[in-house]
Amino acid sequence: MLWNWFKKSINKTISQQQENQDQTSQAPERVTVESLKNKLKNIDDIEMKEISIKGEKVFLIYLSTLTKSSTLQDLVLNPLNNIGDATPKEVLKNSTDGDINDLQASLHDIMSGYSVLFFVERDALLKVNTFSVEERSITTAENETTILGPQDSFTESLMTSLSLIKRRIHSPNLKTTLIPMGTETNDTVAVVYMENIANKENVDRVLYRIKNIEYQGFVALPLLKQALEDKPFSPFPQHGFTVRTDYAVESLLDGRIIVMLNGSPEVAILPATFIEMFITTEDHYNRWTTASLIRAIRLGGFFVSILLTSTYVSVLTFHPEMLPPQLLVTLSESRAQVFFPPVLEVLVIEMVIEILREAGARMPTKIGQTIGIVGGIVIGTAAVEAGLASNVLIVLVAVTALLSFIPPNYLMSNGIRFIRYGFIIAGGSLGIYGQAIFFAWMMNHLSNLTSLGSPFMSPVIPRQWTDLLNSVLRAPVNFLVTRSGMSRAKKQLTRPLDEE
């Protein structure tokens, strides 16, 4: 209800702004020397040179920060110098005509790295793509490292990232839709999918959502990804994301849709399931036995991570009778010096871990590591000796912190950390009952989450039973003959069943 009211008020503001814009907007402005100069004033890296081609007065306009002088020389100036009897369009092989009646489009081209030739007398425009900037080279995925499999990862350049996909899928069915994004940034979003596999409804839904996002500009894909999610208030991410090309290609072949943003090395995978947050591509490179074991540990780790410290709180606060005498004695001795109630003790230590993690993440790598190790040991030991926490709790919190980083999806790790505080407070308030009621809420929330309209908890909420072969446990590759139900793919089989 609150959300509906919030959306209504936002929509009202947007519609008011649009009305104002409509009132002030005029017909498309025509390109003239004055209008160009006026719009491009105070941009010091704009070059607006007056040249002469066959005696005709021409303005060459480009952005020096996006165009190397050698590129300009090769693609524009040299051909024009050797024009002979040909027309400019004939010598400039990569040129296209610009719309003289659309100043905004011409400005967009210039700001995107095009060199624009404005023929004043003929009132014509010719544009050549001279975009040439330094780009980061293709490197390994630092945050998604694997031992087996390809090591290349996407870069900030959309075209390079797209090329990495196209190097692997040589099919005309691989479709790429480029959409301008951001009212101010005028950047490009790419929607990539396999036309013969991906569900058309899903593709349309992604395109519709992207085209209907009004925003000044997304600086990174994780931001755009949030705008595409079904439930923005959820603590859990509802789409997958990766920087690994093999994972992206595997997702495409499963019928998923990839969303890429120029300037961001991550790609979003839509739709995604809860289980997939605990799966890496390396699971497919491993033997099925190892992969199944590791997946089970990851998923088990999720539940242990959210429940371990809260169980410590609830048992010590409300149900010490549930512990066997020996364990109770050990815990009592451990807590003998601690003057905080268990819930406060856990919250303090959890917060210390959060601070250490945050400090380590923000500092230079070497200092960060030192802070992590020294801080962990020193603060942990000191906290126990000072009577701030029991040594059993230090062990539990350390295990919990480690387990929370097991999921390959970083956003899921963050979600787990947030949820854990809910469990700790619930356990501290109502004991094991509080944990259960919070767990019931969480499971209900997860079961109602959707990713692009499909159940997020698939295959637990079954879309098809064969999904179970590639979920918590991973069957041998020969058994994986169907695409996941989550994809709602056009072609369900990955290969003919009668194949020998």
């Binding site: 209800m1 079904d230 409300f318 149900h319 009778e321 549930m322 512990l323 066997p324 364990l327 308030s429 109502l430 004991g431 094991i432 009952y433 509080g434 944990q435 259960a436 009621i437 019931a440 809420w441 499971m443 209900n444 929330h445 079961s447 109602n448 959707t450 309209g453 908890m457 909420i461 079954p462």
Partner: protein
């Protein structure tokens, strides 16, 4: 997600909705409630199953005549608008008291065993907050939660092995020491567990495969009956007749028999996990109540505020200053008899339908 009036419940949803609409927290006291037939009580689940299969026939026959309508709409169509609304109000009250009854039983057991130093207010509020979240997602959300509740709790059947470890299996031999009145009284006292069967009258319009609804409902009932049978047999072989008559919550005592090396007082865990079954059952009734209020106040149009109103009313009945004698009267008598009426109502409505259709064909 999945809100709105369209067919959305698949066979699994129907099976587990039916399963979770039965039993709930009354599983804790079922062996005590059936104890008037002594150690023969384990036979009653079979009778319940037979009765359920029979009672479902008129219910589903009626629903098949009105495949897109809930019982609230059917009432108004067959009985007349105003009389139908009157009946709907009674059903609405029944559903509210069912929600309150299930919640109160749960929070009382939690209070007496798990949180003895707390009043029921805080637990009731948290219980209703979660329930509102579940019901707010619609019947499919409830169905999903019911599936979850089943799998979260079904494994606890493993704990019955401790009861069977100390079992006296001769208790299982049927005896003829009780008369018919004892059997009827036992079935009446234990009937609370089966009253949720009639809820199919409300979620039938949302079932995708309505032709197989009977089969799927029966599977759901059968799953519950098997659980009930397990509880009854474990109680019969573990307790004496005196214990069965005097222990208020025999299932709790069965949990207390569990001996694990690393955890003690496992009943804390058992009661806690039962929150899933309890929430599932109460959520279905709350959804039915919400549909009732929609029918009465807003001409069957979906209004989310009705859910909040009903939750507050139900929570007030549970934790408000209501005399205990009134609560007992409502939960143990009114609700049960209203449940019987709801079982018989489809037969009456079918007759009305027959008369109306005959009149229609003759004119």
């Amino acid at each position: 997600m999945d809100k709105g009036k369209f067919k959305k419940l698949n066979k699994y949803h129907v099976i587990f909705l039916t399963n979770c609409s039965l039993g709930g927290m009354y599983n804790f006291s079922i062996s005590h409630n059936l104890s008037t037939v002594g150690h023969n009580l384990w036979l009653i689940p079979f009778i319940y199953f037979i009765l359920a299969t029979i009672l479902l026939i008129p219910m589903l026959r009626l629903c098949s005549h009105y495949p897109s309508d809930t019982l609230y709409v059917i009432n108004e169509k067959l009985v007349g608008k105003w009389l139908g609304k009157g009946v709907n109000v009674l059903i609405l009250l029944y559903a509210i008291f069912q929600v309150a009854s299930e919640t109160q039983l749960h929070v009382r057991i939690v209070q007496s065993v798990t949180l003895p130093n707390y009043t029921i207010l805080f637990t009731t509020i948290t219980y209703f907050l979660v329930m509102v979240c579940i019901v707010n997602g619609g019947i499919k959300s409830i169905a999903r939660f019911s599936m979850l509740a089943f799998f979260m709790t079904v494994w606890m059947g493993y704990y019955s092995q401790w009861a069977f470890g100390d079992a006296i299996f001769t208790h299982l031999f049927p005896r003829i020491e009780q008369g018919v009145s004892h059997w009827i009284l036992a079935m009446h006292q234990g009937s609370h567990t089966m009253l949720g069967l009639s809820l199919i009258l409300f979620y039938y319009p949302y079932i995708t495969d309505q032709k197989k609804a009977y089969k799927h409902t029966i599977i759901g009932v059968l799953l519950y009956i098997l659980l009930l049978l397990l509880i009854c047999i474990a109680s019969v072989v573990y307790f004496s007749t005196w214990q069965l008559e005097n222990l208020l919550y025999p299932l709790l005592n069965l949990y207390q028999a569990v001996e694990l090396s690393n955890v003690e007082r496992i009943e804390n865990l058992g009661i806690t996990l039962y929150i899933f079954l309890s929430l599932a059952k109460a959520s279905i009734f709350l959804w039915v109540a919400k549909k009732g209020l929609d029918a009465v106040l807003s001409k069957h149009k979906n209004k989310t505020r009705h859910l909040y109103i009903l939750s507050v009313v139900s929570a007030f009945i549970v934790a408000g200053p209501i005399p205990n004698t009134f609560q007992r009267l409502a939960y143990d008598n009114w609700v049960v008899y209203a449940g019987y009426v709801l079982f018989l109502l489809p037969i009456f409505l079918l007759m009305l339908h027959k008369i109306k259709s005959r009149k229609g064909s003759s004119t």
